[in-house]
Symmetry: C2
């Protein structure tokens, strides 16, 4: 029995204690965007640091201006050295009333199709995912006393809230972080049977805009029409962001956005993606973005503007005839190819200012920015990882795009000069960022097995 076979057998045998460890992590309310949960983030970081120390990782919890960052090393082994990245913070869990169980009390549930899943906030994004890598390391160490390759693990706590602390941290610790390849487990499979390596990710600009009009809330009877209504001003701005073809109207928005190369379009066409199935799964039918482009193209290779939140005036039960003093919205732009986040932020702010009457005011909050990224799949580590995934799943891993933004990808390349392999085991129906987030038990079990194989593959010379 080879080392790898014993490692795989141990992973299967130790699934229950692995789940217990994951559940312990999921109980931490590590919501990084909400200052009320700072202590929960710190406690969660402490939990994972202790776990990594117990595996013999040289581990340190680094304070940052935001949430702590964990850095852990095991420097044995030869072959391709790896820097693994995960994030222990999670999205807010609201609306709480839509959860079928407490978002911070993980449970194992059987879904209508008979599959079993771990339900909790963060089950898939990203605690369940990064723990597949940690469990693979644990099994290697338990069976062989070491890892096949040198491994550094970086766990951050601000991925869901702009990630402001990470760039400076990478600058400060560049030497300790250098590795042959970056590994990230925060993406999805192509489908339940087909593993995937995500090679293109969209960038992100997060903006919050607040419009202020009168010095106080007003009675809409006494002031209606005469007094500026920030809800109306904001609605106009938000509506103006798209034209009737679904294109974003910001000046310069499409600068640096080429049409998809024919070769990539052909590869994606072979995936047999179905708009109807993709949208049907969430109760929709019509791609809502740029007319004449498929949902796959819209989400993988086209830039977008989305209103993530808006609020103004009375939104409680019943009715209140008020003209509010303030209205605000949170807007995110997803970027592709060579779009410049700073130029887009400035274009947006100018666009808004043009539409605010002279007697009203506007303020902006910057909720982070990252460029889009595409990796060089000719790097030999891609072939090794692809082979390891094929061994586990019995199918070639698809090279895919991703509509989401995982800013660490760009940071690793720009600051540490490395390519990154995004191999994740999430599924499209994991409901990340939504109520009843889940991670399939098979994603967790076979994800860990996949990483065990990948570590072995990286140790091989070719």
């Amino acid at each position: 029995m080879s080392d790898l076979d014993r490692v795989l057998a141990r992973l299967d045998a130790d699934l229950d204690p692995a789940l217990e460890r994951l559940f312990a992590s999921l109980r931490f309310r590590s919501i990084s965007t909400d200052p009320a949960h700072a202590a929960d983030c710190r406690a969660c970081a402490g939990f994972h640091a202790a776990d990594l120390r117990s595996l013999g990782f040289e581990t340190r919890v680094h304070d940052t201006p935001g949430q702590p960052i964990i850095l852990a090393h095991r420097r044995e082994g030869k072959g391709t050295s790896a820097l693994f990245y995960g994030h222990y913070d999670v999205q807010p869990a609201d609306p709480l009333e839509l959860w079928e169980s407490d978002p911070f009390e993980p449970v194992l549930v059987t879904l209508p199709d008979g599959t079993r899943a771990i339900r909790a906030r963060g089950a898939a994004d990203d605690k369940g995912q990064f723990m597949t890598f940690v469990e693979a390391c644990r099994a290697w160490i338990a069976e062989t006393g070491e890892l096949p390759v040198p491994v550094t693990i970086l766990l951050e706590g601000e991925e869901e809230s702009g990630g402001a602390s990470l760039p400076a941290f990478l600058d400060a610790h560049a030497a300790a972080l250098r590795a042959d390849i970056g590994l990230v487990c925060d993406t999805s499979m192509w489908d339940r049977e087909t593993p995937a390596i995500t090679t293109m990710l969209r960038g992100l600009v997060g903006e919050e805009v607040t419009i202020r009009a009168a010095s106080r809330d007003l009675h809409s009877g006494y002031y209606g029409a005469a007094a500026a209504n920030p809800n109306r001003i904001l609605a106009r701005i938000l509506a103006d962001l798209h034209d009737d073809k679904g294109r974003v109207t910001l000046p310069g928005f499409y600068d640096g956005v080429p049409e998809l190369p024919e070769s990539l379009r052909a590869e994606w066409d072979r995936l047999g993606f179905s708009d109807a199935e993709f949208l049907g799964e969430v109760g929709l039918a019509l791609p809502a973005g740029e007319k004449g482009r498929s949902a796959l193209e819209q989400t993988w290779s086209r830039p977008t503007a989305e209103i993530n939140g808006m609020t103004g005036g009375y939104t409680g039960p019943g009715f209140k005839t008020v003209i509010p003093a303030v209205a605000s919205a949170k807007i995110s732009f997803r970027l592709v190819f060579d779009q410049d986040p700073q130029a887009i932020r400035e274009s947006f702010r100018a666009f808004v200012r043009e539409r605010v009457p002279a007697d009203c005011s506007v303020t902006f909050a910057d909720h982070g920015a990252s460029r889009a990224v595409a990796f060089d799949t000719s790097n030999p580590a891609f072939a090794k990882v692809r082979a390891a995934l094929a061994e586990e799943w019995g199918r070639e891993a698809a090279f895919i795009g991703c509509g989401g933004s995982i800013p660490v990808n760009l940071l690793f390349r720009e600051k540490l000069g490395m390519e990154v392999i995004n191999a994740g085991f999430g599924l499209a129906d994991d409901r990340i960022h939504s109520p009843n987030e889940k991670y399939d038990l098979e994603s967790f079990r076979r994800g860990a097995r996949s990483w065990a194989r990948i570590l072995a593959a990286l140790a091989r010379a070719h």
Copy 2:
């Protein structure tokens, strides 16, 4: 010393106990729009019923499908019989953090200009106002053992929440309610020195619209652009409600809206209204309604559409990259002259439905409707009341319009066949429906004195 002089002297002497009675009423959280406060509304009704009984009014608290209605009679005296209307319910007090003191713990404060005022939710709208009438009755009864004219007092508890119960109540009690004239104390003076009788009031249509798209909240990276975003759909609908001249775009919206008669325009011109002053008081400068019309015309005689509240997606601290499943808005239309509320509601709903994609859905909630109303000022009671106000204030009362809607006016005329005199003592800076609502102590004191004089005037033959 005449009866009236003794009554006025008593009102001045008994100001402190009158304030205590008002404060006791203001402590009830009688927020009719919020089901959580149903018991508070009932308790407030009970308090006022007991007070009226103590004055010898034959008083009954009537249950309704909503909040209780108080009906109280004293049938002595000759001359013009009066039906007085007030409402004991109040608007919600949020945002609570903007109040300088507890909205339901009334306090007497000295304002920066040296005037004294009662600060509490409902101080002006409408508890302080209707208690001026009750205190006038109390003083007449204390000094003379009776009222100069037959008086019925009707206090309802749903004025701030659509007033659904009042129409059926008026139908059922029409005989008991019949009187020569209706009196309402829920409006404002022209300015601090000039009393006013409001002879035109706008109508109201209240609508709530809810747009649903995906079956759950989605990650805006994975679904952005491809999945319909209800925030974007709603923003488009709300923006489309006005054209770039500030006109409401609903088909048929201006049916039944004539230009202002020249005579009325001339009378309003004489008031010397200043847009700059009116808007400057609340920190604004530019009339935001139909271009080419003054703020006075916009608020008194032009119909409007206002977004009173809108919400969708994540609106908490920080940022959440979500595409929400639902977004909603509360919208009110103020009506003038002969606009038909039902036609406008239907036009709005058709307008919205046209703009909702086929794979999304929309639902509506009806938050009440009333037509606009203008009273016949040739009714002799107007001259009597105008004379009584001139005696108290030393100035002719202005006949003015009002942008707000007081649906009881139309109901009294349509169901009971009576004209209504709206004589109120509020001021433009009373912040009704806003944090730090107040009612000037002089409004309260001289309001009661005004009603004492009006009761005497109504008893006169001409």
